[in-house]
Structure formats: structure tokens, C-alpha cells
């Protein structure tokens, strides 16, 4: 582990004013990272004012600080301590920004109350091979996947709902929904491959 990372750990594990000072320095770093993220995503959040964005950055930094201090013992020194800590602030800011962007928005649903597959059709410019593949994918989505796999796959990949927004609405987690998405994709690839369609790459 590099010297700087060791110094961070020692200061954060100390007591009294040394720990307080290190915690304050860490909070400043996390806030800088969170503000970087809110600034980068500002263009996609036109409806949100500067004060609210800064408030969101503060919330992300505070949540990241709690997470970093709670997980301090899991830091093994595979990277610099600051790089390890920054990822918590960027994750918190990213999740909060995506959720804020979807706040008050209904998820796209069809007449049956399910994520709509309507957008899944070849564009006028699509070649014959692409059109055939998209038709086969549409059919496989309806026939080969479980209802849950179908809904998650369509919401995330066709309707482009952020996975953590979907997780929040479905009372699930990002990891659990990604596992569902992964299984659905595997099933589609296997089915299409068995039909002799070229799906790109291999599952080896």
C-alpha cells in the first residue's frame, strides 16, 4: 500500500481531533467528486436548478462519507485510497442524478401495464439481415423469456430506463435486476444462435 493511503487509514482510525480533521478532509474530497459529477450531467438535467444540484452533491458526499467509513476495513490498497473513496461519491451522485431525472415520470407502459416493445422495430434504413434479426429478437422476447425477464430487458434496453431507477420502482436492487437482464440476454443469444442467426461474439 502506498504511503499516502496508509496515512489516510491511520488518520481515519485515530481518535479525537486527528480523526475529525481527516474526516473533514475526506468529506471535502468526496464533495469535489460529487460536484464534478453533477456538473458533468448538468446538460441532461435542464429542469434542475444550480442550488438543487449543489444540494444533491452535498447529499451524495455525505452518503459517500458514511459508506467509506463503514467499509474502511475492506480497503486492501489495490488502488490509491483517494481513487477508492472517489468511486463512492461518484456512485452516490450518479444514482441520485438518475433518480432525480426520473422523479415524477411514469415508466413507459403499454395497455397491458408492461414496458412497451413498440419501439423495437427496424428503421427504414435497416438492411435485410438486421431486420430479420430484430424480428427474431422480438419474437424470442415474447416467447422465450419469463414475464419478469421480458419486462426488465425491455425497460432497460428498449425504453432506456436507468437500471437503478427501475430497481427503485420495482423494489429490487441494481445487482438483482442486472442478473435478470444478463440471464435474459443469454437466453436470447442461445435461442437465436440455435436458429442459425448471427448474434456476434461467442458466449465462451
Amino acid at each position: 500500500m502506498d504511503y499516502e493511503s496508509q496515512a489516510w487509514l491511520a488518520a481515519l482510525r485515530a481518535s479525537g481531533s486527528e480523526r475529525e480533521a481527516a474526516t473533514a478532509r475526506l468529506h471535502d474530497l468526496l464533495l469535489r467528486a460529487a460536484r464534478f459529477e453533477t456538473s458533468r450531467r448538468r446538460d441532461s438535467l435542464a429542469r434542475i436548478g444550480a442550488a438543487e444540484l449543489d444540494d444533491l452533491a452535498h447529499q451524495a458526499a455525505a452518503d459517500a462519507l458514511v459508506a467509506v467509513l463503514r467499509k474502511l476495513d475492506s480497503f486492501r490498497g489495490d488502488s490509491r485510497f483517494t481513487t477508492w473513496a472517489y468511486k463512492f461519491a461518484l456512485l452516490e451522485a450518479g444514482v441520485k442524478l438518475r433518480r432525480r431525472a426520473w422523479e415524477g415520470r411514469e415508466l413507459p407502459l403499454d395497455v397491458k401495464g408492461r414496458p412497451p416493445l413498440a419501439d423495437l422495430g427496424p428503421s427504414p434504413q435497416a438492411g435485410a439481415e438486421t431486420s430479420e434479426l430484430l424480428d427474431a429478437i422480438r419474437e424470442a422476447i415474447e416467447k422465450e423469456l419469463t414475464p419478469h425477464q421480458r419486462d426488465v430487458l425491455v425497460a432497460v434496453t428498449v425504453n432506456e430506463v436507468p437500471i437503478d431507477v427501475l430497481a427503485e420502482r420495482m423494489g429490487s436492487t441494481r445487482g438483482a435486476l442486472y442478473k435478470t437482464l444478463h440471464d435474459a440476454r443469454r437466453r436470447l443469444r442461445a435461442h437465436l444462435g440455435a436458429q442459425g442467426l448471427r448474434v456476434g461474439g461467442s458466449d465462451a
Binding site: 467528486a33 477508492w84 456512485l91 434496453t157 444478463h182
Partner: protein, 74 residues
């Protein structure tokens, strides 16, 4: 890449073996540092690249971390 191909890419995801979202987050800092050091991050942490291709949320986290750390070091 054409929109149809991008849509097919999103629907079918990456072909190779990939790590989970939790493992991706666990390894993200190491992966970014390997990339910034010019090392073969994909060989040292297999499954990360495929996951980043398949998971838009983790890809955003990766993009943000590499951009922020790069900026902090200049």
C-alpha cells in the same frame, strides 16, 4: 454505429463472461488505475470490460471515475 445495431447490442449484451455489478464496483478503482497506468486492465481484471459494455449504469460510474481521477492528477 447505426441505431439498429446499437439497439441489437443493448438487447443482446456482450458475448463474453462478465462480472456482476457488485464485483464491478469492488474492482472499479483498481481497473481505472490500471488503465491510467497504461497496463492491460482487461487481462488483469477479466470480465470487467464485458460488464461495462453491458451495464449502462456501471459504464457511467466508470466513465466518471476515470475522468475525475485523470483531472485530479493533472
Amino acid at each position: 454505429m447505426h441505431d439498429d445495431e446499437r439497439l441489437i447490442g443493448r438487447l443482446l449484451g456482450p458475448a463474453g463472461q462478465e462480472v456482476t455489478c457488485d464485483v464491478c464496483f469492488e474492482q472499479l478503482d483498481s481497473y481505472v488505475e490500471l488503465e491510467l497506468a497504461g497496463r492491460d486492465a482487461d487481462a488483469e481484471l477479466p470480465g470487467m470490460r464485458s460488464h461495462l459494455e453491458g451495464c449502462p449504469a456501471c459504464a457511467e460510474d466508470h466513465e466518471s471515475l476515470i475522468a475525475f481521477v485523470s483531472r485530479e492528477r493533472t
